[in-house]
């Protein structure tokens, strides 16, 4: 599709207000998720944005076991299970099959959305190689990392997505060691963007910003080629807070700067609110303490730990060349401007 046409198509389909959000659900009630599960909201948004001509592939995890609980399903669109680390390969196989069958005239030619979702382990740990491989091809597919910052389905264990010091069953504070999880959360979208030249769209989102989320999914599906979205989902079970505050925590994650919202489109990074206001200096970042103190998984934190996180976040916005995104502080070379 010609670039101008593509831009128009993508722009016209953007949903500008909540009132314009289509009502029809393609992922519906009757799933065995926790009260206040934001990952379920992500499923709802991706199904809603994608519509009926979609195939969704789900890796093992909370969004598998809870959504297709014991021989029943909440999905209205076709949905296929794949193994924990299999999302990338499964998306690739599905998209390749559709392309081959359409080209050879075995099925009708039409755009069919292929979305594969995976959790912390499925995308950032075990399944990373598969996701990376999928990103190197040119098939139209979207991979969504629904990040609840733990291996939630197995009753909350540490993964590479778990934040510094957070309590999980693998990282409980004890008499000898207060902080078991010292490693910092991986930045998955920057990894994907930096390493795969041909991907045209990647973004971070959180369902606390529904229009932003739905529009990002729509853009990813419309733009063509492999695309990637990383969603931060407050998890009342693992993060330990009253389910009614799920929305509030999502907003705080963005407003403290811990979770920057941005999108990468054809080589350009654009920030989304509220990260845009933070980066452009119109809004001051809320102290991370406000976010951390509301979650039981950080209840063992001392001032020292909170300061450490605050400093890490400060560095993201004050010292990185691309604030919040890429951990590169400077280029020690004079670039000629020819």
């Amino acid at each position: 599709m010609v670039e101008k046409e593509m831009e128009e198509k993508v722009y016209k389909s953007i949903i500008k207000t909540i009132k314009d959000t289509p009502l029809e659900e393609f992922y519906t009630s009757g799933h065995r998720t926790c009260q206040g599960c934001e990952s379920a909201l992500v499923m709802r948004f991706l199904a809603k944005a994608a519509g009926q001509r979609t195939i969704v592939i789900g890796a093992t995890g909370c969004m598998y076991v809870a959504n297709t609980t014991y021989y029943s399903t909440s999905w209205i669109v076709p949905w296929v299970h794949t193994q924990l680390g299999g999302s990338g390969a499964a998306a690739l196989g599905t998209a390749a099959a559709l392309r081959a069958l359409m080209r050879k005239g075995k099925i009708k030619q039409e755009p069919i959305n292929v979305i594969a979702f995976c959790g912390d382990l499925g995308c950032a740990d075990m399944g990373l190689s598969g996701v990376s491989n999928a990103m190197t091809y040119d098939y139209n597919l979207l991979i969504v990392l629904y990040d609840n910052e733990s291996a939630a389905n197995t009753d909350i264990q540490e993964t590479s997505m778990t934040p510094y010091g957070a309590q999980t069953s693998f990282s409980r504070p004890g008499k000898q060691r207060r902080i078991m999880k010292k490693r910092w959360k991986k930045s998955v979208v920057p990894m994907i963007i930096a390493g795969h030249r041909n991907i045209r769209y990647a973004a971070t989102m959180t369902p606390a910003y529904p229009l932003d989320s739905i529009n990002k999914i729509k853009k990813a599906l419309a733009i063509g080629g492999p695309t990637f979205i990383h969603s931060l989902d407050p998890c009342p079970k693992g993060w330990d807070y009253d389910p009614r505050f799920s929305h509030e925590l999502g907003v705080l994650a963005a407003e403290t700067g811990l979770w920057p919202l941005y999108e990468y489109t054809d080589g350009e990074i654009a920030y989304n609110e509220p990260t845009k206001s933070i980066v452009e200096g119109r809004m001051k970042r809320k102290p991370v303490k406000e976010y951390l103190e509301k979650q039981g998984r950080f209840s063992h934190f001392t001032e020292e730990d909170i300061e450490h996180i605050e400093r890490m976040v400060d560095e993201m916005y004050e010292e990185w060349e691309i604030p919040g995104v890429m951990p590169i502080k400077s280029l020690n070379v004079k670039i000629s401007d020819k």
Partner: protein, 415 residues
């Protein structure tokens, strides 16, 4: 009656892997997922060249590992694509999660397994344990012993696996080295005949497509697993009849029995190849390329007066229990050549030994059974070895077996 078309288009020298690749091209596969591991890799080399040369229209995906490789074709198959995939040895094991699930998802992928010894240490030579790893989980498994049989069986594989009464994945095993890397003449039939034999792949109501909204493999608990396994087991049993049909169809369309050439006439039993078993007192059992040295040795020993025969097992799953009983019931000793092992199993015998023994158990009069573990890691089993096996078997026609298991030619044990 229509004019009998020329049933051989050309004769080409190719090895086992190339034969499979050509058959997959004839079958017009849609999606291929590749990842290198010796000795099966050449299947993928061959097929990618066929695609590049425009002889096959298919998507060729290079995976990042065998797990991804098998996941890719599993999903392509669920969406309705005909697929080709393969692996060997520990590569096959690396993909095992995806491989096992493919059977329960009822995705009829066709995988070629270049049988290779398992690590550690690394060894490229043939051993059957890799493919045998899935013998319990509902994969169809067949062993071929010539390049011609590899070609023919690949076409049969698509026909059987994709049949709506079956819908199970199928592994075609071929000995690493002896078949993957040796060239024989393969008679290729005219391509146009293939569509008379192989219908298009049609998943019916199990197709994953927006026109057929389904959920595939929801989480289940103890209320459902027994029933799911029972269904799967029933499909495996139905495969028996479908295999018989497919072989008969093949003969009708291509004018010869699968595996047969002008020089080599195959007896018409899909599951096993009986050779001189009618009056045999000792019968050898083997899978894969060992059958050919066995036949040479048998012919030689027959001339010396030994009443000996062979039963080659082709289809390991579903296991041809009735054929085994039929051909072995009147023998006195069965010498199973196991190009595999089963550490710590009863009598320390090999896998095929156990299956044969179990098949014969209910007979009132049954032959004695011995296990000859040999050829592991690519070691030869020569005609000389086979003659020795026959002699040992012969000794036990009337005397009870004291040593049920021999390791053929292992240095350190008497042989």
């Amino acid at each position: 009656m229509t004019e009998v078309k020329k049933l051989v288009e050309k004769e080409v020298l190719m090895n086992g892997t190339q034969a499979v690749a050509h058959a997959a091209m004839y079958a017009d596969v849609d999606v291929v997922a590749a990842y290198p591991i010796r000795p099966y890799t050449e299947v993928m080399d061959t097929i990618s060249k066929l695609i590049a040369d425009g002889e096959l229209d298919a998507e060729f995906i290079v995976a990042e590992g065998e797990h991804g490789q098998f996941e890719t074709v599993k999903h392509a198959s669920l969406v309705g694509a005909r697929t080709l995939v393969g692996s060997s040895g520990v590569g096959w094991l690396y993909g095992m999660e995806a491989i096992v699930v493919t059977a329960t998802d009822r995705a009829p992928i066709v995988a070629i397994i270049g049988n290779r010894a398992l690590d550690d240490p690394g060894a490229y030579g043939v051993e059957h344990n890799d493919a045998l790893m899935v013998r319990d989980v509902g994969w169809l498994l067949v062993w071929v012993d010539t390049a011609q049989e590899a070609f023919d069986t690949t076409l049969i594989a698509y026909r059987v696996a994709e049949d709506q009464r079956v819908l199970l994945p199928l592994g075609i095993s071929m000995d690493g080295g002896f078949l993957t890397h040796s060239e024989q003449i393969v008679r290729l039939p005219p391509k146009e005949l293939v569509k008379n034999f192989l219908p298009p792949y049609n998943r019916g109501k199990y197709l994953v497509h927006p026109d057929n909204p389904i959920t595939v493999a929801p989480q289940v608990n103890d209320d459902w697993v027994m029933e799911i396994r029972r269904q799967h087991e029933e499909a495996m049993e139905r495969a028996r009849g479908v295999i018989v049909e497919a072989y008969e169809e093949f003969k009708k369309v291509f004018g010869r029995y699968p595996g047969s050439t002008n020089e080599l006439q195959m007896p018409e039993n899909p599951f096993v190849e009986p050779y001189m078993v009618d009056d045999a007192e000792v019968v050898l059992i083997g899978m894969g390329t060992v059958s050919k040295p066995m036949k040479v040795a048998i012919k030689s020993m027959r001339r010396q007066g030994y009443k000996v025969g062979m039963l080659r097992i082709r289809w390991f799953r579903p296991f041809p229990t009735q054929d085994v009983i039929k051909y072995l019931a009147n023998s006195r000793v069965v010498c199973v050549v196991d190009r595999d092992y089963s550490m710590g199993s009863p009598n320390r015998g090999g896998v095929i030994y156990h299956e044969i023994r179990s098949s014969l158990y209910d007979l009132d009069q049954r032959p004695r059974v011995m296990s000859f573990i040999g050829g592991l890691g690519g070691r030869e089993i020569t005609t000389q070895d086979v003659k020795k096996i026959i002699k040992i078997g012969y000794e036990h026609r009337d005397t009870p077996i004291t040593k049920p298991v021999y390791w053929v030619g292992v240095r350190g044990d008497p042989w």
